[in-house]
C-alpha cells in the first residue's frame, strides 16, 4: 500500500475543480495548472526511486484487497510514462499561456487539460480493466470538450467525427470487458493474468483479446487511424500537441499492458498481428506524410508512423525489442509534442499551413528554425538524438524474432519521415525571406522557452541514454515477467 500512487490522478482533479470555482482568475489557473504538473512530476520521481529500490508499488482503493476492489499499480513502465506526460504537459501549458487566448482560457481550458491528464495518468496507473475504461472516459470526455473548445467551424466538424468514432470504440471496449468478465469472472488485471494463464489462452479468449486490440488500435491510431489526421489538426496548437503526444500513447500503453500481462500466451497470433498492423500503419502514415504540402497534415501523419514503430518493437516480444519500444515511446511523446508546438508556431507566424506559401523564415527566426531542424532529425531517429537508441533496439528486436520485414519497413519509413519533415524545414525556413517583421501574423514571444525545453530534452535523452537505462530496463523486466506484477498485486490471494 502506497498512497503516492493515487496522487498523479487526484492532484489534477482537485486542482482542476478548484480552478472551475475561480473561473475568471486566469492567473490562478496558470499558476495552479503548472503547480499540478510539477507536483505530479515530483510524485512520479519519488515513485520511480521507490520502485527502483522496493519493486512495484500498489494501492488498494478503499482498502479492498485485489481482486475485489480497484487496485492501482505503479510499475516502472507506467510511472515513466506518467513522468514524461507531466513534462510534456508542463511545456504545452507554458506554450498555451501566450497562445491559447483569453476566451479559451476563461472557458475552462486549464482545468480541462488537468482532467485530461488525470484520465491519462489513471489509465497508466490502474490495475483494473473496468477502471481503465473509466479512465479512458475521463480522458476522452475532456478531449471532446478541448477539441471543440472555441466552436470554430473546423473544430465542430472534426470534433463530431472524433466523438462519434470514440463513442463507438468506448462501446466496443465495454462489450469486450463484458465478454472477458463472463469468461474470467474478474476485472483485476493481475487476476485476469493468473486466470488466463491457468485456463490457457484458448480460441475464444484470443478472439476477445483481438477485440480489445481493435479498441485500443482505434485509440492509438494503430491501423485504424482515419479519424486522427483531421481531428488533430482542428484544435489550437497547445491542445493538438497534448493530443498528439499523449492520447495515442495511452492506446499504445493499453496494448502493451494487456498483451504483455494478460494475453501473452499466443504471440504467434496476437503479437504477429500487432506487428502486421504496425507495419501497415507505418507505411500508410509515412505515405500520408509524404503526400501533403501542409504543415499540420505532415505532422499528424507522423504520429501514426510513430505509433507503428513503437508497436513494431513490442510485436517482436523480445527483451531487446520491448526495450526499444519503451525508449522510443518516451522519445516519441517528447518529440511529437515538440513538433506540434513548432508546427503551430510556424502557422502562427505566417498565418498559413501551406508550405508553398512560406519561405526563408530562418532569417528572422533562427531559434525556431534550428529547433525545428533538431526536432526533424530527432523524429526520424537520427543519432545522437533521442530517437536513435529506440530505433536500434526496435530494429534489433524485430530482426531477432525473425520479423525482418517489420524492421525493414520501420527503417524505410523513417527515411520517408525524414523526407516529409525536411520538406517542411526546407520550404519554411530556407529560401528567400518573403515576410518582414511587419507582415508577420504573430510573434514567437513567450512561445520559445517551452519548445527550447523540449529540444534540450530530446538532446539529453539521446546523449544521456545511459542515464535512464536502469529505469527502462526495470520497465522491460516488469513487462516481460508478468508474474512479478501478479505476485505484487495479488500477494497470496490469486494463487
Amino acid at each position: 500500500m502506497n498512497n503516492l500512487v493515487i496522487l498523479p490522478i487526484i492532484i489534477p482533479i482537485i486542482t482542476g475543480m478548484v480552478m472551475v470555482l475561480f473561473r475568471n482568475n486566469i492567473w490562478l489557473h496558470r499558476f495552479l495548472s503548472l503547480l499540478a504538473t510539477v507536483l505530479i512530476g515530483i510524485v512520479s520521481i519519488m515513485l520511480i526511486e521507490q520502485i527502483k529500490t522496493a519493486g512495484m508499488q500498489t494501492l488498494y482503493l478503499g482498502g479492498w484487497q485485489a481482486p475485489f476492489g480497484i487496485a492501482l499499480v505503479a510499475d516502472m513502465f507506467a510511472v515513466l510514462l506518467v513522468l514524461v506526460a507531466a513534462l510534456v504537459t508542463f511545456c504545452c501549458l507554458c506554450y498555451a499561456f501566450s497562445s491559447i487566448g483569453r476566451e479559451r482560457g476563461r472557458h475552462y481550458f486549464y482545468p480541462l487539460c488537468l482532467f485530461l491528464i488525470a484520465g491519462v495518468n489513471g489509465s497508466f496507473l490502474t490495475g483494473d480493466i473496468f477502471n481503465l475504461f473509466v479512465c479512458f472516459e475521463v480522458m476522452l470526455v475532456a478531449s471532446y470538450v478541448l477539441i471543440s473548445l472555441g466552436g470554430t467551424k473546423v473544430q465542430l466538424r472534426e470534433s463530431f467525427k472524433y466523438i462519434l468514432i470514440n463513442m463507438l470504440s468506448s462501446f466496443l471496449f465495454l462489450i469486450a470487458i463484458a465478454y472477458l468478465y463472463a469468461m474470467m469472472g474478474t476485472l483485476n488485471l493481475a487476476h485476469l493474468s493468473v486466470r488466463v494463464a491457468e485456463a490457457g489462452q484458448g480460441g475464444v479468449i484470443t478472439a476477445v483479446a483481438l477485440l480489445f486490440l481493435m479498441v485500443f488500435s482505434l485509440k492509438a491510431g494503430l491501423f485504424l487511424f482515419f479519424w486522427l489526421p483531421g481531428s488533430y489538426s482542428a484544435p489550437p496548437t497547445a491542445i493538438a500537441a497534448i493530443f498528439g503526444s499523449l492520447l495515442t500513447k495511452v492506446g499504445v500503453y493499453a496494448i502493451i499492458r494487456l498483451f504483455s500481462l494478460v494475453f501473452y500466451h499466443e504471440p504467434g497470433v496476437t503479437h504477429l498481428f500487432i506487428g502486421v498492423l504496425a507495419a501497415v500503419s507505418m507505411v500508410l502514415g509515412a505515405m500520408g506524410a509524404v503526400a501533403y504540402w501542409d504543415v499540420k497534415r505532415i505532422i499528424t501523419y507522423n504520429v501514426v508512423v510513430g505509433v507503428g514503430f513503437i508497436l513494431a518493437g513490442f510485436a517482436s516480444f523480445s527483451v531487446v525489442g520491448v526495450r526499444g519500444s519503451v525508449y522510443y515511446l518516451l522519445h516519441d511523446m517528447i518529440v511529437k509534442a515538440l513538433l506540434f508546438l513548432l508546427g503551430g508556431s510556424i502557422i502562427h507566424l505566417t498565418g498559413t499551413g501551406r508550405l508553398k506559401e512560406m519561405s526563408g523564415l530562418i532569417r528572422l527566426h533562427p531559434q525556431l528554425g534550428w529547433m525545428f531542424f533538431v526536432a526533424a532529425l530527432s523524429v526520424s531517429g537520427i543519432p545522437p538524438l533521442s530517437g536513435f537508441i529506440g530505433k536500434i533496439f526496435v530494429t534489433a528486436g524485430t530482426f531477432q524474432t525473425g520479423y525482418f520485414w517489420l524492421g525493414g519497413i520501420g527503417l524505410l519509413t523513417s527515411l520517408l519521415v525524414l523526407y516529409s519533415v525536411m520538406r517542411i524545414f526546407m520550404n519554411v525556413f530556407w529560401g528567400y525571406t518573403n515576410l518582414t517583421e511587419e507582415t508577420e501574423k504573430g510573434t514567437t514571444k513567450g512561445l520559445l522557452p517551452s519548445m527550447a525545453f523540449l529540444t534540450v530534452l530530446t538532446l539529453a535523452l539521446g546523449l544521456g541514454a545511459e542515464g535512464i537505462h536502469t529505469y527502462v530496463d526495470l520497465a522491460v523486466e516488469g513487462l516481460l515477467n508478468p508474474h512479478i506484477y501478479t505476485g505484487t498485486v495479488l500477494g497470496g490471494n490469486g494463487q
Binding site: 478503499g62 487566448g101 479559451r104 482545468p111 482532467f115 484520465g119 473496468f130 477502471n131 472516459e137 475521463v138 470526455v141 470538450v145 471543440s148 472555441g150 466552436g151 470554430t152 467525427k161 462519434l164 463507438l168 465478454y179 474470467m184 486466470r195 485456463a199 484458448g202 475464444v204 479468449i205 484470443t206 478472439a207 476477445v208 483481438l210 477485440l211 486490440l213 481493435m214 488533430y232 489538426s233 489550437p236 500508410l284 505515405m287 503526400a291 501542409d294 498565418g351 501551406r354 532529425l377 543519432p383 537508441i389 534489433a396 530482426f399 524492421g407 523513417s414 527515411l415 525524414l418 525536411m422 530556407w430 529560401g431 528567400y432 501574423k441 541514454a465 545511459e466 537505462h469 536502469t470
Partner: protein, 805 residues
C-alpha cells in the same frame, strides 16, 4: 579519460565558441583564422601516434557512453584510422586556410559555415576511429547531416536545396541499410566491436544471414562513396562552396564508404560474393564516372564525376584485394593483397591531386566568374601559377610521371593484371574483361584530364569573353593548392617514406589476420623496366591523346543518349511518382466521411475476429447454461427490434426520438425481468430525461431531409451491420459458454458485513468501486462544462486554426 578523446572532441567543443568569436571579431579578423587552430592541433597530436602505429602497434581506448548496452566510444588507433584522420585534419587545415580567401567576411554568414565544418570534422574523425558499430553509425549519420547543411550553405538557391536534399536522402538511406547490416552482424556475433567481429569472421561467413548482412553494409558504403548507381548525389553536391567540395566531396566524406569497406574486408572478404560485388561496383563506377566526366562542361561537375570515377577505382582495388583472404596460406594470397595497398596509396594520392584541382577551379571561378569550359580559355596568360597547379593535378590524375598518381595507377594495373590471372571466383572467364574495363576507363580518364587542362588554360586569351576580367590570383589563396601540388611531387619522389610510416601500417590494419602470418612489405619504385603495366600506361597516353584530338567528332554520341534514361531523371521520377501515388492512395481512403470510417472500422472487426474464428477453429457454443426464453421476453425482443427499425426508417425526427425512447424503456423492462429494479429505475429516469431533451432541441432543427443513398452503399451498410451483429453475437455466446471461473461477485454478497450496506449495488458503487463512481462524476461535470462552452464560446474563424488543405 585519455587525452585522445579531448582532441577528437575539440572540433565539437570549439564549434560552440564560433558564434562568439564571429560576433566579437569578424568585423576585423576573418573568422577562419580562429578555426585554423582546430585541425592544426588535432593534426599535430595525431602525428605523435605515428611512431607507435608504424611499429605495428594498435592503440585501443575505451570511453563509456552507454556501457549498459555496450555502446561505448571505443577508439581503434591503427594504421587505417590514422591515415584517414591525418587526411581529415590535414586537408581540413588547408581547406580552412583556403576558405579564408574564398569566402568574403562581409557577405557570408561565416559562423554557420565554420560551425558546420567543425561538426563535420569532428564527426568524420569519430567515424574513422570508432570501433563500436553503433558509434560508427552515429558519426556516419552526423557526417551526412553536416554535409547536408554545407551543401545548402547558400540556402536561398533552389539548386543548393535540391542538391542537399538529394545527398541527404541517398546517404541516410545508405546509413539505414548499413545500420540494419550492423544489427545483423551484432546478432550473429553477439558483439558490437568491429575488432571482435574480425576475430569471428569465420562464424559470420558460415551464417545464413551472411549475404544479407554483407549487402546491407555494402549499400551503406556504396551510397556514401557515390558508387554507381548511387553516385547521382555527388555532382549535385557541387552546389556547395568550393572549399566544401574540396574537403567533403572529394577528400574525406566520400571516402567514408571506402573506409568502411576496408575495415570490413577481413569480416566479409575471401568469398566470391564480396569479391564480385565490391570489385564490379568499383569498376562500373570507374567507367561510368569517367564517361560522364567527359561530357560535363561545368568544371566542378567534371571534377565531381572524376571523383566518382576515382572512388570506383579505389573501391575495385579493395574488392580485388579481398581475394587474398581466400587462401589459407597467407603467402599464396600476398600477391593479391597488393591491391589493398594500392587502394590506400591511391586514396592518399587522390586527396592531394583532387584537392589541388578543386582549389584551382575555385580560384578560376572566383576570378573569372564562371566555371563553364565553353566560356573559359586562354587563362594560361593570366594565371600561370594556377596553370602549373592544374597541370600537376590533372596529370597526376591521368597517371603520368613525375606525379604520385603514376605510382598508384601502375599498382592498379598490377593488381588488375594479377587478378585477371586468378583461377578462383570464375576469374578464368571474366578476368580479361576486368583488365580491359580498367584500361578503357583509364583512357577516358586521360581524356578528361586533358579537357580540364587544355580547355581552360589553352587557347588564345583574346578569343574568350569573360565577365570579370581574369586577373592574377592573390598569392595567399594559392598556398594551399601549392602545398598539395608539392605533395603530389614529393610523394612521387619519396613514396617509400610514406609507405613505411603510414601506408604499410594501414595495409596491415586492413588485413590484420594476414599481417600476422605474411610479411606485408612492398617497395614502390617508379621504374620496373618495360613491363605490361608500363605498356598499358603508354597505350593510355597514345589512345587518350588521339581521342582528345578527335573529341569533336565523337562527342556527338552523348547527344543520342536519351535524357529520360539518366539516373538523375529516374531519381526525380521516383520521388514524383512516390508523392503522387501517396497522395492518390491517401485521398482514396481518407474521404473525410464518417460513414466510410465506420465501414473501415466495423469491417475490420468482422474480418479480424471473424477471420480468426475461421482460421483457428470455430467458436464453441455451450447452451446448457442458457436460461429458457419466455414468451414475454420474446415479445419484448420483438418490440425492441421494431423500435430500432423504426428509428432507421422514420421520416420525421419526432418519430425517431420516440422510437429511441421506446427502445430505452423496453431495455428497462429487461432489467426488471432480470431482477435489477434499481438499474431499471435509473434507466427509466435517464430515458425520460433524454427523450424530453431531444424533443426540446429538435424543434429548433429543420425538417429531416430524405437522403438518397445508392443501393450499393445501402447494401454495404446492411452487410456490415449484419456482419458485426453476427460476430458480436457469436462472440457473446461463446464467451457465455466458456465461463471458466467463478465470478468474484460472490465476495460482494457479503456487503452488509463488509461495508455495512444492505444494498449490494450501492455498496459496489460507493464503496467497493467508489473510485469508478468518482471518476464518472468527473466525466459528467466535464460534459456539463463542455455543453456550457459549446453554447457560450464561439470564436471567429481564424485562418491559422484551419487544418485542412
Amino acid at each position: 579519460m585519455h587525452c585522445f578523446y579531448l582532441v577528437i572532441a575539440f572540433p565539437f567543443i570549439y564549434a560552440l565558441a564560433v558564434p562568439f568569436l564571429y560576433n566579437k571579431f569578424n568585423s576585423k579578423v576573418h573568422t577562419g583564422w580562429f578555426i585554423l587552430v582546430v585541425p592544426l592541433l588535432v593534426f599535430l597530436h595525431l602525428l605523435s601516434y605515428i611512431p607507435a602505429v608504424s611499429s605495428g602497434r594498435t592503440i585501443y581506448l575505451t570511453l563509456p557512453w552507454i556501457p549498459s548496452y555496450d555502446i561505448n566510444l571505443t577508439a581503434n588507433i591503427d594504421g587505417l584510422s590514422l591515415i584517414f584522420s591525418l587526411i581529415i585534419t590535414g586537408m581540413g587545415f588547408l581547406v580552412i586556410f583556403y576558405s579564408i580567401y574564398y569566402l568574403s567576411k562581409q557577405k557570408e554568414e561565416l559562423q554557420k559555415f565554420y560551425i558546420y565544418l567543425l561538426l563535420f570534422m569532428g564527426s568524420m574523425l569519430g567515424l574513422v576511429f570508432a570501433d563500436n558499430i553503433f558509434v560508427l553509425y552515429v558519426f556516419w549519420e552526423m557526417t551526412s547531416i553536416s554535409s547536408f547543411l554545407l551543401i545548402a550553405y547558400w540556402f536561398e538557391r533552389e539548386k543548393s536545396r535540391s542538391g542537399a536534399r538529394k545527398s541527404l536522402m541517398i546517404t541516410i538511406f545508405g546509413g539505414l541499410s548499413m545500420l540494419s547490416g550492423f544489427i545483423l552482424l551484432s546478432l550473429i556475433t553477439d558483439t558490437h566491436s568491429i575488432r571482435e567481429m574480425i576475430s569471428k569472421a569465420g562464424m559470420i561467413q558460415s551464417h545464413s544471414l551472411f549475404v544479407p548482412a554483407m549487402l546491407l553494409v555494402l549499400l551503406g558504403a556504396f551510397t556514401k562513396s557515390a558508387q554507381f548507381p548511387f553516385s547521382i548525389w555527388l555532382p549535385d553536391a557541387m552546389e556547395a562552396p568550393t572549399p566544401v567540395s574540396t574537403y567533403l566531396h572529394s577528400a574525406t566524406m566520400v571516402k567514408a564508404g571506402i573506409y568502411l569497406v576496408a575495415r570490413c574486408t577481413t569480416i566479409f572478404g575471401g568469398v566470391p560474393e564480396w569479391f564480385w560485388f565490391v570489385s564490379s561496383a568499383g569498376l562500373v563506377t570507374l567507367l561510368y564516372g569517367s564517361i560522364n566526366a567527359v561530357r560535363q562542361t561545368d568544371l566542378k561537375a567534371l571534377l565531381a564525376y572524376s571523383t566518382v570515377s576515382q572512388l570506383g577505382l579505389i573501391m575495385s582495388l579493395l574488392g580485388l584485394g579481398s581475394a587474398a583472404l581466400y587462401f589459407d596460406v597467407a603467402e599464396e594470397g600476398a600477391v593479391y593483397a597488393v591491391a589493398i595497398f594500392a587502394a590506400i596509396f591511391h586514396l592518399v594520392n587522390h586527396s592531394t591531386f583532387k584537392g589541388c584541382l578543386f582549389m584551382v577551379v575555385g580560384i578560376i571561378d572566383l576570378e573569372t566568374g564562371t566555371r563553364d569550359i565553353k566560356k573559359l580559355g586562354g587563362l594560361l596568360h593570366w594565371m600561370p601559377v594556377s596553370f602549373l597547379l592544374a597541370l600537376t593535378g590533372s596529370l597526376a590524375m591521368a597517371g603520368l610521371p613525375p606525379f604520385n598518381g603514376f605510382l598508384s595507377k601502375e599498382l592498379f594495373f598490377t593488381a588488375v593484371l594479377n587478378a585477371s590471372k586468378m583461377s578462383i571466383f570464375h576469374m578464368e572467364t571474366w578476368g580479361n574483361i576486368l583488365a580491359i574495363t580498367a584500361w578503357v576507363a583509364s583512357v577516358i580518364t586521360f581524356v578528361y584530364c586533358l579537357i580540364i587542362l587544355l580547355k581552360t588554360f589553352g587557347g588564345k586569351p583574346g578569343d574568350y569573353k569573360l565577365k570579370k576580367k581574369a586577373r592574377k590570383a592573390p598569392v595567399a589563396i594559392l598556398i594551399p593548392p601549392l602545398i598539395l601540388a608539392s605533395l603530389v611531387i614529393v610523394i612521387f619522389l619519396y613514396p617509400n617514406v610514406l609507405a613505411k610510416y603510414l601506408l604499410q601500417p594501414a595495409w596491415q590494419a586492413v588485413l590484420p589476420t594476414f599481417a600476422e602470418t605474411a610479411s606485408l612489405q612492398i617497395k614502390i619504385s617508379a621504374w620496373h623496366g618495360l613491363n605490361t603495366e608500363l605498356l598499358m600506361t603508354i597505350g593510355v597516353v597514345i589512345t587518350g591523346a588521339f581521342l582528345y584530338k578527335t573529341l569533336r567528332k565523337w562527342y556527338v554520341i552523348f547527344r543520342y543518349y536519351p535524357a529520360a534514361l539518366t539516373l538523375n531523371n529516374l531519381y526525380e521520377l521516383l520521388l514524383e511518382k512516390m508523392e503522387k501515388f501517396s497522395l492518390a492512395l491517401t485521398r482514396r481512403y481518407m474521404t473525410g466521411s464518417v460513414r466510410d470510417y465506420l465501414v473501415y472500422i466495423l469491417g475490420f472487426i468482422i474480418l479480424t475476429v471473424g477471420g480468426f474464428f475461421l482460421i483457428y477453429g470455430g467458436p464453441t457454443f455451450d447452451s446448457f447454461r442458457d436460461a429458457s426464453v419466455n414468451y414475454y421476453e420474446l415479445g419484448l425482443l420483438i418490440g425492441m427490434l421494431t423500435s430500432a427499425l423504426t428509428v432507421l426508417l422514420a421520416r420525421s425526427r419526432l418519430t425517431s426520438v420516440i422510437a429511441v425512447g421506446a427502445l430505452g424503456f423496453l431495455v428497462a423492462f429487461f432489467f426488471v425481468l432480470f431482477r435489477a429494479p434499481d438499474l431499471a429505475l435509473t434507466q427509466l429516469v435517464v430515458e425520460t430525461i433524454t427523450t424530453v431533451l431531444f424533443l426540446l432541441c429538435f424543434c429548433h432543427l429543420p425538417k429531416l431531409k430524405q437522403e438518397k443513398t445508392p443501393i450499393r452503399v445501402k447494401a454495404v451498410n446492411g452487410l456490415i451491420s449484419a456482419g458485426v451483429g453476427l460476430v458480436m453475437t457469436i462472440l457473446a455466446l461463446s464467451a457465455n459458454g466458456n465461463r471458466l471461473f467463478e465470478s468474484i461477485s460472490r465476495f460482494y454478497e457479503n456487503a452488509y458485513e463488509l461495508a455495512g450496506a444492505k444494498n449490494i449495488v450501492n455498496a459496489i458503487l460507493v464503496d467497493f468501486r467508489g473510485f469508478d463512481t468518482m471518476l464518472e462524476i468527473l466525466v459528467l461535470s466535464m460534459a456539463g462544462l463542455g455543453v456550457h462552452t459549446l453554447i457560450k464560446l464561439r470564436l471567429a474563424e481564424r485562418r491559422g486554426n484551419e487544418g485542412t488543405e
